[in-house]
């Protein structure tokens, strides 16, 4: 099976696949981040989430995020996989892995990537909770918005 650095998939996410993809003998650190479906949000008891993507664009934008991270931290290799469809409590909706000779850059690139995912990747989640459901809406997606990019970089390097 060929694993790509970026993917949008209905399959369960496996951090080990991303680790194997980004890691190499010269690395001193691999950081992984998994975003999970939690059982509460804004005072509601969440039962499950449903993710929807504009897939061809989402894959492109994930690739763009990996390129952006490479621009900031040239020694880091980054992979991002995002899941779609129905996800139950405790399941991973997104996994980021970043490998580097040194931990500081791996941490920073990981944080940058997940912040950018939330800003610009065309994916939406519908929250199902006790008594109803609602589409969550966060950021207006604009990859050319430099202020958003700078904000993600500042968070990554805080």
């Amino acid at each position: 099976m060929t694993v790509s650095a970026v993917a949008v998939t209905a399959d369960r996410l496996d951090p080990e696949l991303l680790i194997a993809l980004v890691g190499g003998d010269g690395d001193g650190a691999i950081v992984t981040f998994a975003g999970l479906v939690r059982n509460h949000n804004q005072g509601r008891r969440v039962t499950f989430l449903e993710y929807e993507a504009y897939e061809p664009l989402a894959v492109r934008v994930l690739g763009r995020i990996v390129e952006e991270a490479r621009g900031f931290w040239p020694d880091v290799r980054v992979a991002v996989h995002h899941r779609i469809g129905r996800l139950d409590i405790g399941e991973a909706s997104v996994v980021v892995a970043a490998a580097s000779a040194h931990r500081a850059n791996a941490f920073a690139a990981t944080r940058y990537a997940i912040e950018r995912v939330k800003q610009i990747v065309p994916i939406w989640k519908r929250e199902h909770f006790d008594g109803g459901d609602v589409w969550l809406e966060g950021a207006t997606a604009d990859p050319e918005d430099n202020a958003a990019r700078v904000k993600a970089y500042r968070i990554a390097c805080a």
């Binding site: 993710y51 664009l57 989402a58 990747v121 065309p122 939406w124 989640k125 604009d142 050319e144």
Partner: protein, 81 residues
């Protein structure tokens, strides 16, 4: 000319359909396609200040010129992660 329109998440639900074809008079921009949709489903208007647009699966602008056969997607604020 004829274009494909893609709608996602809440926009898809407001229109009751995620993919449709529409005829627009050339020359046209993404905004012209949107105006047609908003006339059909006025509830879509609420998303004008916050949505994004993509042409042929690339982020674009409402002022972008479009061609016959293009796919125009209107995207509500994203909530991945």
């Amino acid at each position: 000319m004829r274009v494909t329109v893609r709608l996602f998440a809440r926009l898809r639900e407001l229109a009751g359909c995620g993919e449709l074809t529409r005829d627009v008079a050339a020359p046209a921009t993404a905004r012209d396609v949107w105006e047609g949709l908003a006339a059909e489903w006025p509830a879509l208007r609420a998303y004008e200040p916050t949505m994004s647009v993509a042409v042929n699966a690339e982020y674009s602008r409402m002022t972008a010129p479009i061609d016959d056969g293009d796919e125009i997607a209107f995207l509500p604020p994203v909530s991945g992660g």
